[in-house]
Subunit: 466 residues, 2 copies
Amino acid sequence: MPLLGLLPRRAWAALLSQLLRPPCASCTGAVRCQSQVAEAVLTSQLKAHQEKPNFIIKIPKETLTEKYGEDSGLMYDLKDQGGELLSLRYDLTVPFARYLAMSKVKKMKRYHVGKVWRRESPSIVQGRYREFCQCDFDIAGQFDPMIPDAECLKIMCEILSGLQLGDFLIKVNDRRIVDGMFAACGVPESKFRAICSSIDKLDKMAWKDVRHEMVAKKGLAPEVADRIGDYVQCHGGVSLVEQMFQDPRLSQNKQALEGLEDLKLLFEYLNLFGIAEKISFDLSLARGLDYYTGVIYEAVLLQTPTQAGEEPLNVGSVAAGGRYDGLVGMFDPKGHKVPCVGLSIGVERIFYIVEQRMKTKGEKVRTTETQVFVATPQKNFLQERLKLITELWDAGIKAEMLYKNNPKLLTQLHYCESTGIPLVVIIGEQELKEGIIKIRSVASREEVAIKRENLVAEIQKRLSES
Amino acid sequence: MPLLGLLPRRAWAALLSQLLRPPCASCTGAVRCQSQVAEAVLTSQLKAHQEKPNFIIKIPKETLTEKYGEDSGLMYDLKDQGGELLSLRYDLTVPFARYLAMSKVKKMKRYHVGKVWRRESPSIVQGRYREFCQCDFDIAGQFDPMIPDAECLKIMCEILSGLQLGDFLIKVNDRRIVDGMFAACGVPESKFRAICSSIDKLDKMAWKDVRHEMVAKKGLAPEVADRIGDYVQCHGGVSLVEQMFQDPRLSQNKQALEGLEDLKLLFEYLNLFGIAEKISFDLSLARGLDYYTGVIYEAVLLQTPTQAGEEPLNVGSVAAGGRYDGLVGMFDPKGHKVPCVGLSIGVERIFYIVEQRMKTKGEKVRTTETQVFVATPQKNFLQERLKLITELWDAGIKAEMLYKNNPKLLTQLHYCESTGIPLVVIIGEQELKEGIIKIRSVASREEVAIKRENLVAEIQKRLSES
């Protein structure tokens, strides 16, 4: 029986083992650092209606709103006791940037797991909630080009592989290529962000609907939309990057060329990291958030063809990120910039996918890690059960028992079957008298008697074999 | 060099390994359960100004306020876009109780690590913040007496031992004994909660100051205060429980007798769990929160005598909890009760203690887990470094390098010394030509050359030895 109940912990273990690899380069003390981050998170929710922002404890909402483009309407706004406007954090990226600026931290590598809030229409089918958990990893600092960017993609690959979600692909693009493409196609600069938001919907909407939105709602000329349409169908590996260098329109655009140069370098490093085949240069990837300035990426799971009875999964991207070199400077009174690149993983979406897959396969979900259950067929054996469970606990074995003085044996065994606990140790009068313990395998219902003093060793042996 | 940077992870590992032992008894799916808890947490912050509470999505502040007694002023209040009064959660206990009631969950064992907020005067010296992290564990459900309560104390002991905070003591009392003591001493029933709050300050204030507060501020008769004074100086083991059964005043009080009976049974189980010597029945323990109904407990660290240069630590309790049988029923429209017992650990306080101890001992704090640094003395060796680090990462070794094309060797070695990375692998032209790698111990500065193909095995061997 697979242990979905354990997946969160395994998933985190996988996440953490990847994410803890890099150092928090500029921290002199992790404890202090943690406290500061904690404080920063609270402070980041404090935003005042002020003309001149006070960067010590308050960040005006006006400032924050710009960061999320069209999605700003999804922010949860609140007022505090003093009537000042606050909001719940929309993501972990903006608070991180603000923390760097306020603490004058010039380089840092860190992960952060935490809740974020959005005023969306919740949709369990799409794994979308109003409150959900994000796991972020970011590298801040001025470094040589694309080395931290490549590491972010390596980490994304390791995490998604570690989570065993099946085959996946990471789409990569560059915000400068997107903008260059818009310019080359004839999009007026004032419409860049709006068109970018439309393009971002291509993973959920067909091209013709996105085209309609751009033309009918956002006033783009149809021939401009069609030119964009030619590009956004392109995706491939480093050869597509090379091809775009030759593209008559893009190659005329300085921004686009910079983006292409960086992507070429990125693919070189991805190759050395052994993950190039997981990465696809995809011109339809736009990422709606306004703060990205360079490389952007988004991981999607590759669906195996829907089998009979399997419901199609549509959960959008499971991880995404990119480079945001301007965000920290927006929070710094003097505008000092700290280049950053990072990624964000949507935890609930991943859980939802795993749950759906298990449901489809008819796999039962285990909600506990309990390895051993302590049972008795006799009355008045609470003391002996407590002694036994203490022995198991003290040996680091995950054990439980019913909180009843005199439970029925059948109730105890049923409990093990329904919760998927693999082993039962049974103690009764006979066993106590003879100095033995019975070990029962829940799956096979086989029972063997062993000497009491060998209990822990025997359990550990069986657990290591299973 | 001790790894304080790692302590959080180790601490959580210790916490989790203890806390994951028990099952989430009534959950059929951990993922669904998690989502529901997540939703409940947000919902728990929604409180409307309504005469008749709507228990589906909103909880009136009035209802919540009663739960915290005198501390209610510490709640963070907010208003949402609709002008409704909200507040940030004050602890994890009340949201858990509300979740059980709303979801009609009748039994559950769970842990929860999360942020809580209080409008206190922050004090770093006492490890007190406005936003901090709590780690809660609770057992909900109707069970035979004191078995889950004893398990909570066992878990508390295991966690505190696992965290290696030095010697500790868990004070235990029962809310019914406190109330019975008040009644027996002649405290008017209307003053029970107020006097309870005063008694709760005994760990920070001297008896004479607490007495003054009770008499001068809370209008208690001096002779009543003195009677209380006799009791609150009593602490001991199970023999004190026996002694109190004979106490002429307490033994007349039905409530107090019930509490004493339960404590007697509790000590029997604590004995079987092998932790009785860590537990002290302490009549001065009152716990200020209103929602406790039975056994209450609080863990304090036992200070070793202050050594020269060591600053005295005053961080209050590091963990506490108790039984709250009425709280779930307060959130249930029909008043259905679900008895609960649980504990809460203050994470920042524990970090603060560890940090102070290390500072006193002059121990340097490591903020990373990095095991190996990949260095080069040569220019144009980025590709080789990337290949090397990929090999290490793919083998699960925590490795890093500088994000520079051509860093100086001295810069790289200094970085290892300042961050406490124990091993460096060095690759240069000579090494590349000969198919070797140099391994350098940062502490001893010794270097040895090994064959390139033995790199991972050699690193793993060294790491397992250290």
